[in-house]
């Protein structure tokens, strides 16, 4: 057996003692500012990110990426981790589950850096404390939505909504919630053979069966062969929160609260 050198001995002892020998520097973007990489990043963004963040990255359902502010951290390594691993509990998938290579993710980040500008003044509107009071009180949001373990189950859990929705998207989804729904929350009315109608949100479906949560928060399972009809609603179970239900100022408060989550 070969003798251990002093150097390897030192490493063994160091590891055993839990001594970090060298602080690994946080990786930085190897293609920062590289014109070709930025071009490639733009192409990747358009194909993979624009559906949620918008073609101009100003935010659709997903947040605005042009403000220079990133909730999960804005350093190169933090952005790399967010893009690669996604954000659990949100719609943000991880590039590691696609065919994306690390080089492509760095190119994407190089492109995002070219978009960064000042935070929107719109973001600063409203009062989060008032918004929280409205959420659980007058606006009755909490009857269907849960925040950190409190509230209803029929609508999506909003505990992390501030990470995943832009202010613009939230305004649209509160004022006119119908149109587009998150998976697991498509509104349906099930009509049984004897004409009974059960309203709820679709949890899953295949050609033969349907699983819903009804408006009493009960999970129910049906075979299509036992049903007369499944009505796929265009209108959300959530009412439109027009100015009669929520003034512009109150809406600003609620959104400020949601953006703080």
């Amino acid at each position: 057996m070969r003798k251990l050198t002093w150097w390897t001995m030192a490493i063994v002892i160091g590891l055993a003692a839990g001594v970090p020998f060298a602080q690994q520097p946080e990786p930085t973007n190897p293609v920062q500012g590289n014109a070709q990489a930025i071009d490639q990043g733009q192409q990747l963004f358009r194909l993979s990110c624009a559906s949620c963040h918008g073609l101009n990255a100003k935010g659709l359902r997903g947040p605005d990426l042009t403000t220079g502010q990133f909730v999960r951290g804005g350093s190169d390594s933090q952005l790399f981790r967010t893009v690669m691993q996604g954000i659990p509990g949100t719609d943000m998938p991880g590039a590691q589950f696609s065919d994306a290579t690390p080089d492509q993710v760095w190119a994407l980040i190089a492109y995002l850096r070219t978009l960064s500008g000042p935070a929107s003044e719109e973001e600063a509107r409203g009062n989060a404390q008032n918004g929280e009071t409205l959420f659980w009180g007058k606006a009755t949001c909490g009857q269907c939505h849960m925040v950190r373990g409190r509230g209803g189950r029929l609508g999506p859990d909003l505990s992390r909504i501030g990470v995943t929705r832009s202010r613009t998207a939230l305004i649209k989804e509160i004022r006119t919630p119908s149109g587009s729904f998150t998976d697991g929350f498509w509104p349906v009315t099930v009509v049984s053979r004897d004409g009974r109608r059960i309203r709820g949100v679709r949890k899953n479906e295949d050609p033969f069966s349907l699983q819903i949560m009804d408006t009493n928060e009960r999970i129910q399972s049906f075979d299509h062969s036992d049903l007369r009809e499944v009505v796929r609603e265009k209108s959300s179970l959530m009412p439109d929160y027009g100015a009669d239900r929520l003034t512009d100022a109150e809406l600003d408060d609620v959104i400020r609260y949601l953006r703080s989550l």
Binding site: D39, Q43, L47, T101, D206, P207, F208
Partner: protein, 532 residues
């Protein structure tokens, strides 16, 4: 029940010797009738129609799981397994491959290719299966090689480069054996490759011929590309074609031009992208072509399996080629000369009014895309895609998994850079309109849909037809299903727990007919519980 693999192996050797005489590829085609499954689509006609009749509409309700092979590999299966003499040969994600005892699902050997880092792969680290010739298996690899394996051991017999993966060439196609040649396609159009179809000597791996799907200036079709755009014009060939021994023609579908959406980078019709090409099997010489989508800007590859059949049209027998195209139209062509006999939409199409008498689509405004975006149907996934259709000569119906989805397409200028995605556009889903899927039975004479079975979600599962009058199909929510081929009535189903992305196949072993599907990372074999 006694069963020895030694007996099976001995039979393999005998058959391997027999197959070394004459044209093994032709034998491979004929052997489908003996209950084997020897090529990607079942036989050279690519009908994915089996003569086996043990499982019938009357007894399919008693179909039960015989075994499940859990591959332990992440990613999805897009392969059709082959079965020869009781051994199943299967390829999986990341160029894993296996030989299994087809009776029990137990592994005989496993192969895994060491792949280089940094491969440019647009659409999944998948593989669509082996080709077999005697005791040799052939597979293509993600780093664009053709590998021949010993069927009994999985040992590598030869390993040749199809083209350079550093130029973004990659391969996922199941090869096709024709006589003494292995025919393969290529992928990589999303990275601006120049596509081709290659033939290699089955014994030595030496290149026999290459057909470029994008011709250079001065060659026929070369004037359908502006400037030097042909050099990176796309035209991948990533799904296995068909072969007609009587005409000695290989039929193969070609993919989208590159860049996918920014058509101004490549003015012209962009031959031979989004087409079917008929090639002389011995030389690779082009005999005819038919282009489904000239100057495509929607990524509507025409790689769908072309099905060959002899049918009667207007009272006359016709040798036809049928295909349900990603662009939403179903086509019936004369396969001797490429003449268009019928074209009709099988899903909602908004880009073309119809296919004109000259064989070219009469375009609508929704075909034009630019930076402002245009909503077009079908979506980028197409009216159908690479999932295998099937054809039953008795019902005369073509069975295909269809997708009813629209999308908003954008085009933006983009400079080509080697190794970088070359799309020149974007695609957005329509909010609140996720679309749906359906299994449809199309009459190739009229082009009309005779029956359909709807799926809640657009699906990418293939179909299988059997002579007993059944159609098997898989869908995205995990069901494998059997239907009455004439009426479309659902007769049996099994929830497998993961979306089905590959084509079902069937084989006979020890008097028992099996149906095989891949679901997630597993392969499932089904049969009648009592074998009758």
């Amino acid at each position: 029940m006694r069963h020895t693999l030694a007996r099976t192996a001995a039979l393999c050797i005998v058959l391997a010797c027999a197959m070394s005489i004459g044209h093994p590829g032709v034998q491979a085609q004929q052997r489908q009738d003996s209950g084997q499954w020897t090529t990607y689509s079942g036989d050279y006609n690519a009908q994915r129609h089996s003569s086996l009749t043990q499982i019938t509409p009357a007894n399919v309700g008693r179909l039960a799981v015989q075994w499940i092979f859990q591959s332990g590999v992440s990613g999805r299966f897009e392969a059709t397994p082959l079965v020869v003499d009781g051994i199943m040969y299967l390829t999986g994600p990341d160029n894993y491959a296996w030989a299994l005892d087809a009776r029990t699902g137990r592994q005989i050997w496993r192969y895994r290719r060491q792949l280089p880092e940094g491969l440019n792969i647009c659409c999944g680290r998948v593989n669509r299966g082996f080709a077999i010739n005697g005791d040799r298996l052939y597979m293509t690899t993600l780093d664009a090689h053709l590998v021949a394996l010993d069927a009994r051991t999985g040992n590598v017999l030869f390993d040749v480069e199809i083209d350079d993966h550093k130029k973004s060439y990659t391969a996922t196609v199941a090869p096709l054996i024709v006589k003494d040649k292995v025919i393969v396609g290529i992928a990589g159009a999303e990275y601006g490759i120049r596509g081709f179809i290659d033939a290699f000597d089955a014994n030595t791996g030496k290149k026999a011929w290459r057909f470029w799907t994008v011709p250079e200036p001065g060659q026929p079709g070369g004037n359908t590309w502006s400037g030097d755009s042909w050099q990176r014009g796309g035209g991948s060939t990533w799904v296995t074609g068909a072969y007609d021994p009587s005409l000695n023609l290989v039929y193969w579908g070609t993919g989208n031009p590159a860049p996918d959406s920014f058509g101004d980078a490549r003015l012209g019709d962009n031959l031979y992208t989004d087409a079917v090409v008929a090639l002389d099997a011995d030389t690779g010489t082009l005999r005819w072509h038919y282009q489904f989508t000239p100057h495509d800007v929607h990524d509507w590859d025409a790689v769908q399996v072309p099905i060959l059949a002899d049918i009667t049209m207007n009272g006359a027998p016709r040798k036809v080629l049928m295909t349900a195209n990603r662009n939403g139209f179903f086509y019936t062509l004369d396969r001797a000369n490429g003449e268009l006999l019928r074209a009709r939409p099988f899903v909602r199409t908004t880009w073309a009014q119809e296919i004109g008498r000259d064989g070219k689509p009469i375009l609508l405004e929704a075909n034009r895309i630019g930076p402002e975006g245009t909503v077009t149907c079908p979506d980028v996934g197409g009216g159908t895609n690479w999932m295998s259709p099937s054809f039953n000569p008795a019902t005369g119906l073509f069975y295909v998994t269809t997708r009813e989805v629209c999308a908003k397409f954008y085009a933006f200028p983009q400079q080509f850079q080697p190794g970088h995605l070359y799309w020149g556009g974007a695609v957005e889903a329509i909010p609140g309109e996720p679309g749906y899927g359906a299994l449809r039975a199309i009459d190739p004479v009229s082009g009309l849909v005779r029956w359909e079975f709807k799926y809640p979600r657009p699906s990418m599962g293939g179909t299988l037809s059997t002579a007993s009058g059944l159609v098997f199909a898989g869908e995205e929510d995990g069901n494998v299903m059997a239907f009455d081929a004439a009426s479309g009535k659902n007769l049996w189903r099994l929830q497998t727990g993961a979306g089905l992305r590959s084509g079902p196949m069937t084989f006979m072993h020890n008097g028992k007919q099996y149906i095989v599907v891949a679901s997630g990372g597993a392969v499932i074999a089904l049969a009648l519980q009592d074998g009758r």
